[in-house]
C-alpha cells in the first residue's frame, strides 16, 4: 500500500483550481477509486459523475494528466510511482462543478438527426456481414470523449456549425443500416458541418470502445456527400437517367 498525490480540479463556472489530495493506492486501483476515496475521507462534496465502473455507461469521462479518459478504466499503475496525477473535467463543455460538466449540447444535437425510418418494403432479413459495420457504430457508449477532444469543438468552439464525431458515428449507423429509408446527405453537408472535419483522428484515438470513427464513419460519409453533391460525372449521370430511379427521399427532418 503506498500513497499517491492527486491534483483534482475543484470549482464551478466562476472559476476554480487544482486541490492536492493524498490517496492510499491498492493493487489494480483505477482513478475513479481514488476519487471515491477522496469523497469518502477528505472532500465529501467532490462532484463526480459516474455510474457503472465497468466502462460501459460512459458517465465518468474526465481529463487525466491532460488525456481524455474514462476514470473507471484508467489504471493507477499506468502512471509511474511518484508521478502526480491530475484530474480535470472535460474542457470542451461548460463546467457545472468540479469534475461534472454540462453535456446537454450532445443530446440537443442528437435530436436534430432524423431517426431510423424503415423502408416501406423492409423484410427484416439482414445478414451478419451487412450489419458488422453498423454494429461497430452502435457500440458507442456516449461518453463524449470524442466530442471533447475534437479541435473543431474544443479549440474553435464551432458547436453551432459542427455536430461532432459522435454525431457522425450516429448518422453513419443510420445511413448504413440496411433497412433505413432516409438520405441524410444534405444534413451532413449543411447543418452537421461534415466538411469541417479535417481527419486529424484525435477522436479515434480517445474512443474507449475502439470505434474507428474517422476511417469507418466519417470518411465514408464524406465520400457519400461528395458523390451526391460534388462529383460532376455522378451528377451528369443522374440527370441523364431522369433523376433517381430507386433513390431515397431527401429529408432533413423526420416526416412523422
Amino acid at each position: 500500500m503506498n500513497t499517491r498525490t492527486f491534483k483534482v480540479w475543484r470549482g464551478d463556472q466562476q472559476g476554480g483550481d487544482e486541490v492536492t489530495y493524498r490517496v492510499e493506492v491498492a493493487e489494480g486501483m483505477v482513478v475513479l477509486d481514488a476519487i471515491h476515496q477522496i469523497q469518502r475521507t477528505q472532500a465529501c462534496d467532490l462532484a463526480c459523475r459516474w455510474n457503472c465502473k465497468a466502462a460501459k455507461c460512459g458517465s465518468c469521462s474526465a481529463e487525466v494528466n491532460g488525456k481524455p479518459r474514462l476514470m473507471c478504466k484508467t489504471r493507477m499503475d499506468d502512471y509511474p510511482d511518484g508521478e502526480i496525477i491530475s484530474v480535470h473535467p472535460m474542457k470542451t463543455f461548460p463546467v457545472i462543478r468540479d469534475l461534472v460538466c454540462d453535456v446537454s449540447w450532445n443530446y440537443k444535437v442528437n435530436k436534430k438527426i432524423p431517426p431510423f425510418t424503415p423502408k416501406k418494403d423492409a423484410n427484416w432479413v439482414m445478414y451478419q456481414e451487412d450489419i458488422d459495420r453498423v454494429q461497430e457504430f452502435r457500440k458507442c457508449i456516449e461518453c463524449f470523449l470524442c466530442q471533447n477532444v475534437c479541435h473543431v469543438l474544443r479549440n474553435h468552439n464551432m458547436n453551432e456549425q459542427f455536430y461532432g464525431p459522435r454525431s457522425m458515428v450516429r448518422i453513419a449507423s443510420l445511413e448504413m443500416h440496411p433497412m433505413d429509408a432516409l438520405d441524410r446527405s444534405k444534413l451532413l453537408k449543411e447543418d452537421a458541418g461534415l466538411g469541417l472535419c479535417n481527419i486529424t483522428k484525435c477522436c479515434t484515438e480517445v474512443c474507449p470502445e475502439d470505434i474507428h470513427i474517422t476511417d469507418n464513419a466519417i470518411i465514408p460519409l464524406k465520400e457519400r456527400v461528395v458523390d451526391q453533391y460534388y462529383d460532376p460525372l455522378q451528377i451528369f449521370w443522374r440527370k441523364i437517367k431522369g433523376d433517381h430511379a430507386n433513390s431515397k427521399p431527401h429529408h432533413d427532418k423526420p416526416t412523422f
Binding site: 493493487e27 486501483m29 469523497q39 455510474n51 458517465s59 457545472i96 461534472v100 452502435r138
Partner: protein, 582 residues
C-alpha cells in the same frame, strides 16, 4: 409564498420515474397514446443500468430452435421461479416477448444474425431452447439506445439528473412527485394524473454488487411509502459470476453469456464441479444453483487464490471469443490484466438483481394505489423465487409497454389534480426532509453509514441465511435507521453534492433492507435464491405463498398471500413439475 411561487412546477398527464428499458418503453407508449409524458431520471439519459445488461432478450422467436414456443418459455420461467411467480405475468411475458423484440428491430435495433438473415438466439441458463436475441455481449446497450433514440422524437419531456424523493397524493390517489435537480439542488414539483415507477433494483445495499451507483431501491421505497405493497422481497439474486480481483472491480458482472457460449467452471483442483450440483444442466443451470455451488466450493477450500472459481472460455478460440464477447475480453484485459482467450477468469457471486418489488396487476402494471403503476425490476411477481437470465430485458419491454398503456388510459380519464392545501403540506415536508440534512450538529457521515449498511447485508443477509444472522441483521438495521435520522453534511452548497444525495438514498436503502430481512426471516424454507441453512428443504405451505410487505400506520407489516395462479395454465405447470422430477 404559495407553492406555485416557491417551486418550479411541471404538469403532465403521466410521469415515468426511471429511464431504463422499462421506463423508456412506458414513456414511449404513453406519449404514443397522446398523453403529455415526463420521463425523470437520476442519471443522464441512456446511462441507466439497462445499458450494462449483456446476455440477451429472451423471446420464443424460434429462429434457431424451431420447436420453441411460448408454452416452453412459460414453463422454463415458472420452474426458474420455483413456482412462486405470478402465473399471469409469466404467461403474458412469454406470449408478448417475441413481438416486443421484433418491434425493437423495426425501431432500428441491430441484433446478431442467423445464417439465413434472421435474429440469432443463444442458449442461456434454465432455458430449454436457444432463446436469447443478442448483440455480442452488449444487448442492454442496444436495447436502451434503440428506445432512447425512438423516445426522444416522440415529444416526451426528459428531466435528466433529477431525483424523485417523494410521491404526492391527493387523498388515496397519486397526483405527482417531489424531486430535486442534482445539478443545482433546487427543488421541483411534478403534477401528474398517473405515475409509473421504473427505478430498477437495490444492489447498492450490498457490498459486492454488479449494480451501478443509482440502484438504491428508490422506487421500492417510494411505492411503499405511498401505500403500495411489496412482494417477494426476500428473493435477492446473486449472480454466480462477478469479478473478484482486483478489489476495485469486485462484483462487476461477468455475463452468463460466457457460459452460454461454452464457458466451463472449475475449482482449484481442476474439477468441473457443476457435475455434483446439477449434472443435467451443468454450467447452464439456474443462477441460484450455480451461485450456491461456487460459494460452497470456495467455503470448502477449493476456491481460487482470490476467493472465487475459475471460468474458462479459452477453448473456444481467440477469434470467436473476441467476436462474441468483446466487452468481456476488454473488461478483463484492461481492468484485471487477464486475457480470456488464453487463461481462465476468477469469478464469484455478486448481488445482481432483486426478484421482489412493487406488487402489480399482471395486465395493467397497476399497484393498489390508484394512479400508481410500476414496471421492470422494481416490480415483483414476474420472476418468482429466481430469475432466468435474459428474462429481465424481455420483462422491461413487455411490462413497460403495458404500464405505459394503463397509465395513459388512466391519465386520459382523470381530471388534473389540484395543488390544494394537503398537497402543499406534503411538498413542504419533502423540502424540509432534504434541507434538514444540512448543518446538523454531530451529524452521521453518510458514506460511513452506507459502508456499515452494506456490510450488514453482505455478511448477514447473503446467499446462505439463518435465523440468528437474520435477527442480528434486523437489530443492526434498526440501529442504522436510528443513526440515519441524524445523517447529514456540513453546511455548504447544493450544487451536485454527492454526500447530500446519499443522505436521502440511505433512507430508501434502509426501507428496502428491512423489508428484505423481515421477509427472509418469515420464509422458513429454501427456495430459489433464498437459502436457509436452518430450513434447507422446500416447505409445502410456502410453496403456495408469497410474502407481502406493506406500510400500516408507521409500521412495516408482512403477511403471506397465496400465489396468483391461472387455472387454464395448470396443465403446463404440472407437466413441467413432472419433467423436472426425473
Amino acid at each position: 409564498m404559495s407553492v406555485e411561487e416557491k417551486y418550479e412546477i411541471h404538469e403532465h398527464d403521466v410521469i415515468v420515474v426511471g429511464a431504463g428499458g422499462a421506463g423508456l418503453r412506458a414513456a414511449i407508449e404513453s406519449s404514443a397514446m397522446g398523453c403529455r409524458t415526463a420521463l425523470i431520471c437520476k442519471s443522464l439519459l441512456g446511462k441507466a443500468h439497462t445499458v450494462m445488461a449483456e446476455g440477451g432478450i429472451a423471446a420464443a422467436l424460434a429462429n434457431v430452435d424451431t420447436q420453441d414456443s411460448w408454452q416452453t418459455h412459460f414453463q422454463d420461467t415458472i420452474f426458474g421461479g420455483k413456482y412462486l411467480n405470478n402465473w399471469r405475468m409469466v404467461e403474458l411475458h412469454a406470449k408478448e416477448a417475441p413481438e416486443r423484440v421484433r418491434e425493437l428491430e423495426r425501431w432500428g435495433a441491430v441484433f446478431d444474425r442467423t445464417s439465413d438473415g434472421k435474429i440469432l438466439q443463444r442458449a442461456f441458463g434454465g432455458h430449454t431452447y436457444k432463446r436469447l436475441a443478442h448483440v455480442g455481449d452488449r444487448t442492454g446497450l442496444e436495447l436502451i439506445r434503440t428506445l432512447q433514440d425512438k423516445g426522444i422524437h416522440q415529444g416526451i419531456d426528459v428531466f435528466m439528473e433529477c431525483t424523485v424523493t417523494r410521491l404526492l397524493k391527493d387523498g388515496d390517489r397519486i397526483c405527482g412527485a417531489f424531486a430535486y435537480w442534482r445539478e443545482t439542488g433546487r427543488f421541483v414539483v411534478f403534477k401528474a394524473k398517473a405515475v409509473v415507477l421504473a427505478t430498477g433494483g437495490i444492489g447498492k445495499c450490498y457490498k459486492i454488487t454488479s449494480n451501478s451507483w443509482e440502484y438504491t431501491g428508490d422506487g421500492h421505497a417510494l411505492g411503499y411509502e405511498a401505500g403500495a405493497e411489496l412482494v417477494d422481497m426476500e428473493f435477492v439474486q446473486f449472480h454466480p459470476t462477478g469479478m473478484v480481483w482486483p478489489p476495485g472491480v469486485m462484483g462487476l458482472l461477468v455475463t452468463e453469456a460466457v457460459r452460454g457460449e461454452g464457458g466451463i467452471l472449475k475449482n482449484s483442483k481442476g474439477e468441473r464441479f457443476m457435475e455434483r450440483y446439477d449434472p443435467k444442466r451443468m454450467e447452464l443451470s439456474t443462477r441460484d444453483v450455480v451461485a450456491r455451488a461456487i460459494y460452497t466450493e470456495v467455503k470448502e477450500g477449493r476456491g481460487t487464490p482470490h476467493g472465487g472459481c475459475f471460468l474458462d472460455i479459452s477453448h473456444r478460440g481467440a477469434e470467436y471469443v473476441k467476436k462474441k464477447l468483446p466487452s468481456m475480453y476488454r473488461q478483463f484485459l484492461e481492468l484485471a490484466d487477464v486475457d480470456i482467450t488464453k487463461e481462465p477468469m476468477e469469478v464469484g457471486p455478486t448481488c445482481h438483481y432483486i426478484m421482489g418489488g412493487i406488487k402489480v396487476d399482471a395486465e395493467t402494471g397497476g399497484s393498489r394505489v390508484p394512479g400508481l403503476y410500476a414496471a421492470g425490476e422494481c416490480t415483483g411477481g414476474m420472476n418468482g423465487a429466481n430469475r432466468l437470465g435474459g428474462n429481465s430485458l424481455s420483462d422491461l419491454i413487455v411490462f413497460g409497454k403495458r404500464a405505459g398503456v394503463s397509465a395513459a388510459e388512466y391519465g386520459k380519464k382523470k381530471a388534473a389534480p389540484e395543488v390544494g392545501s394537503t398537497i402543499a403540506t406534503q411538498i413542504e415536508e419533502a423540502a424540509q426532509e432534504m434541507t434538514a440534512f444540512f448543518g446538523r450538529p454531530h451529524a452521521e457521515d453518510p458514506y460511513k453509514l452506507h459502508i456499515d449498511l452494506q456490510n450488514v447485508m453482505q455478511n448477514l443477509v447473503g446467499i446462505f441465511r439463518e435465523e440468528k444472522d437474520l435477527s442480528k441483521a434486523l437489530n443492526k438495521l434498526e440501529q442504522l435507521k436510528h443513526r440515519a435520522r441524524n445523517v447529514g453534511v456540513a453546511e455548504g452548497h447544493r450544487i451536485y453534492n454527492p454526500a447530500w444525495h446519499l443522505c436521502k438514498d440511505l433512507q430508501n436503502m434502509l426501507t428496502c433492507t428491512v423489508a428484505i430481512t423481515k421477509a427472509a426471516l418469515m420464509r422458513k424454507e429454501s427456495r430459489g435464491a433464498h437459502s436457509r441453512l436452518d430450513f434447507p428443504n422446500n416447505d409445502d405451505y410456502w410453496s403456495g405463498h408469497n410474502i407481502v410487505v406493506k406500510k400500516v400506520g408507521e409500521e412495516m407489516k408482512i403477511e403471506p398471500h397465496p400465489v396468483v395462479q391461472v387455472p387454464e395454465l395448470k396443465p403446463l405447470v404440472e407437466e413441467k413439475k413432472a419433467k423436472e422430477k426425473k
